[in-house]
Amino acid sequence: MEALTALIIGTLVAAAVYLMLARNFMRFLFGLILLSNAANLTIFASGRMTPGAPALVPYGEDAPIGVVGNALPQALVLTAIVIGFGLLAFTLALAFEAYRRLRTMDSDKMRYAEPKEDRKG
């Protein structure tokens, strides 16, 4: 499954990059969402994937019996999902506010910080 997941991740990353390079800022946001999904899957897959055996210690035992899913990447992915969500929410708020002030979603026209006039030197 790691090989197939690697292909899925490649597809997600390619789509994310393409979307992030778009002029419309909303597409950039979509790209960001896909990218964070790809990142989570990457962490997960590089810890190897074990089907159908959650990392639990049965009652009466000191350690899991047999091969179970790798717990560490799962914990990391949990953290990453939440942080990715925080990032997304903040970016969305930024986009929302930017649109309200600049009345455009075209990132080429969002020149508040680096206005065109300054470039004449």
Partner: protein
């Protein structure tokens, strides 16, 4: 400058007098070492600084550094006393005292340092402190510009020096100068030439050799005490000091001899001609300083005892008379309000003490017996006769010394005994704190000449021994060395110098005409700086376009290269695509994610994009479920839900994705996207191909129950083993929430007045 000061203001204050006292105490401290060092026993103080890099805070007191230390502290104390009176009542006098004192300490550190890195640190400190001193009148743009010019030039040289000394230290295996010098000449060793050239770049910029000379006369924007200090004992002599200090290891090759002789000689003659051309007496002195530096460099080219003795004697003489003359010019400026050579004259009656000391210093400068200047000149001629390129060196020395004679008369004779012009103020004698220093220095110049044996034994010969790296035979400093070729040359110098003085007004006009036609390096410098700024602007325009897509494109391109280049240079083995044994469900999930992704990319509809994102999110959650990560799957589903809700709310208030309802496709972006995606896949495949290291996993599986008493290992990791991560995660979410809240809330309040372009933009 002096104009800002109030002559009647009280001039004794704590800041000023403390610096004077400490400097004087340091002078006495070093004076106590004179007998010991003269006996041939250098002193070493040393502390570990950064032992792992062989950097020690080590100080080495031998003849050379002692002579410099005495000049720095001795002249320093007088200059500080003088400055206290000169700048009395100046609102920023305390600051000035601090700068001057820091400069003195940096210079002292420089000449005492035995570790190359320590030396460099002090070298740069002198650069910075002199920048502050030259730019002291910071209200004046010219002063700021000249300070910056000095800083940039000397700091550029400093960088060259840094490269050189690192190279030297690495090749020699030690950064201690005394050890490097003890090993003798490096000529012929690998990197010798490069090291030498880098050191020379540092020394020549610091000591203002042609063609880096132009910053020095400009540095005259500084108050007079600074000029006296910078240009007599210190700053500019730092370069010469470096050459002298490294003489045992860096000399001994043809390159050393030729480069030093030619640069030194050209600087000396060029500078003395320029000195003759000036009208401002301070500028005249500035150029004679250049002449002295050139002469010193020229004599350091030699390796004979006479040449080095000449350099060291001249160094001593020059420091004494030049500091004295600078301070004298300051007194004149202070008393009359002008430094114009054409106006000043007949001041001897009103300023008898100043006139006397100017005369003493002037005689030393002109090289009249029995002053030390005369002895220095004799030794110099004797040294010149024994050097390589003999005829060239002798002729250049003759020209320089003759011009020096003429300049000495212009600076020290004419203002006091020459015809008087219209002075802005009625001249009066200077106050004692301003006379004490120059008077002492002038008298010392005479005494040192009257007792050449003492001077030689305690100061010059130990310094010569240090420069040569071996004890010298000595006994070269004599008032009467018999009727020989140097004496003839001396007499010739007087005759030529006297003639030049008589004709100097005529010569000045002629030189001014020649100068007007020659290249103006100072203007060239400004031009260079402007081009540099233009280049910076051009670069900013190209790199910083202000278009986010271009930044991102660059970022992703660099990212791909960062992965691609190592992949090509060091290929990873065995990237295999194994799909054997995958169930239909697994293929189905993969297809689901791919379909969702393609939908997001291709659609122009906001709702369809949202659906696509949701499908991808659920597909990812399904993978987590299938592969033993139920906790992750639950979180993923919850978050995915929130994302979709948030996006849906926001999208309602936003415009369509494509206003024209047709998405423009971008082949270049698509190509880059495919490259980045493909590389990610390859890297991941390579990662999963290497055997898995289970140590961490085993630890967590074993310790989850036995140590942390939890049966869900993922949960135990989150809340126990890696609690800090979880804490950080919560912090991030809170910060994001607060940030978003502030944005949305604050924005709505400010929006009305903040939106002048509303309705115009689109």
């Amino acid at each position: 400058m002096a104009e800002d000061s109030d002559p009647n203001a009280p001039w004794v204050n704590v800041a000023g007098m403390t610096t004077v006292a400490i400097t004087a105490a340091l002078f006495v401290f070093f004076l106590l070492y004179v007998p010991e060092v003269a006996a041939g026993a250098p002193v070493l103080w040393s502390w570990d600084w950064i032992p792992s890099l062989q950097i020690r805070m080590s100080f080495w007191l031998d003849g050379l550094s002692l002579m410099f230390a005495l000049l720095i502290t001795g002249i320093g104390a007088f200059v500080m006393l003088y400055a206290a009176r000169y700048l009395a009542g100046h609102p920023q006098y305390n600051r000035f005292a601090l700068y001057l004192f820091s400069f003195m300490l940096s210079m002292l550190g420089l000449v005492l340092a035995d570790n190359l890195v320590t030396l460099f640190v002090f070298w740069e400190l002198t650069t910075f402190t002199s920048y502050l001193l030259i730019g002291f009148s910071h209200g004046d743009p010219k002063s700021r510009r000249n300070a910056l010019q000095a800083l940039l030039l000397t700091a550029a040289g400093g960088l060259a020096l840094l490269a050189g000394l690192i190279l030297l230290g690495m090749t020699q295996g030690t950064f201690e100068i005394s050890e490097i010098n003890a090993a003798g000449s490096l000529a012929g060793e690998p990197y010798y030439l490069l090291i030498l050239l880098l050191f020379l770049a540092g020394a020549f910029t610091k000591s203002a050799q042609v063609p880096f000379h132009f910053w020095l006369p400009n540095a005259m924007a500084a108050p007079t005490p600074v000029s006296a200090y910078l240009h007599s004992a210190t700053m500019v002599k730092a370069g010469v000091y470096l050459l002298a200090r490294m003489h045992p290891s860096l000399s001994g090759s043809d390159v050393w001899v030729w480069v030093l002789t030619i640069f030194g000689a050209v600087t000396a003659v060029f500078a003395s001609l320029m000195a003759l051309r000036q009208i401002d007496l301070k500028q005249t002195l500035a150029y004679t300083t250049l002449m002295a530096l050139g002469t010193l460099t020229m004599f350091l080219a030699g390796s004979t005892g006479y040449a080095i003795t000449a350099a060291m004697t001249f160094l001593l003489v020059h420091s004494l008379y030049k500091a004295c003359l600078f301070l004298t010019i300051g007194v004149i400026d202070h008393a009359t309000g002008t430094r114009d050579a054409d106006v000043l004259g007949g001041l001897a009656r009103a300023m008898p003490i100043t006139a006397t000391m100017a005369a003493l210093a002037g005689l030393a400068m002109a090289g009249i017996p029995p002053f030390l200047g005369f002895i220095a000149k004799e030794v110099a001629y004797a040294g010149a006769l024994g050097m390589a390129l003999t005829i060239f060196v002798v002729l250049m020395s003759l020209a320089a010394f003759a011009l020096m004679f003429a300049v000495a008369a212009i600076v020290a004779y004419r203002p006091f005994f020459g015809p008087q012009g219209a002075l802005p103020r009625k001249p009066h004698e200077g106050p004692w704190p301003m006379l004490l220093g120059p008077a002492t220095l002038a008298v010392l110049g005479l005494l040192a000449g009257l007792m050449p044996g003492v001077t030689a034994h305690y100061l010059v010969e130990p310094a010569v021994a240090a420069v040569m790296g071996a004890p010298d035979e000595g006994g070269r400093l004599k008032l009467w060395a018999g009727f020989n070729l140097p004496l003839v040359l001396s007499l010739l110098t007087f005759a030529l110098g006297f003639f030049l003085y008589l004709r100097h007004l005529d010569l000045r006009a002629r030189l001014a005409r020649i100068e007007a036609r020659g290249p103006n390096l100072d203007a060239r410098w400004d031009w260079l700086l402007e081009r540099f700024m233009d280049f910076a602007k051009f670069q900013t325009r190209v790199i910083q376009t202000g278009v986010m897509r271009q930044y991102l494109f660059a970022t992703f391109t660099v990212l791909s290269l960062a992965i691609l280049v190592p992949l090509i240079l060091r290929p990873v083995g065995g990237v295999t695509l194994a799909f054997a044994g995958l169930s239909l469900i697994e293929w189905g999930v993969a297809f689901l994610i791919a379909a969702g992704t393609i939908l997001v990319v291709l659609t122009s509809s906001r709702i369809a994009a949202l659906v696509g994102l949701g499908v991808v999110g659920i597909g990812v959650a399904l993978i987590f479920i299938m592969y033993s990560a139920p906790d992750v799957a639950i979180t993923q589903l919850l978050v995915e839900l929130l994302v979709v809700v948030l996006l849906a709310v926001a999208l309602l208030k936003m415009p369509y994705l494509d206003p024209s309802n047709r998405q423009v496709h971008r082949p270049f972006d698509a190509a880059l996207a495919v490259v980045v995606g493909g590389l990610t896949t390859i890297v991941l495949l390579a990662v999963v191909d290497v055997p898995f290291d289970r140590r961490l996993t085993d630890f967590f599986e074993g310790a989850s129950w036995t140590e942390a008493f939890g049966r869900n290992i993922v949960n135990v990791i989150l809340v126990d083993f890696r609690t800090l991560d979880t804490f950080g995660e919560i912090a991030v979410v809170i910060v994001a929430a607060l940030g978003a809240y502030a944005l949305l809330k604050g924005g709505s309040r400010r929006a009305p007045e903040d939106e002048p372009a509303k309705g115009e933009k689109e």
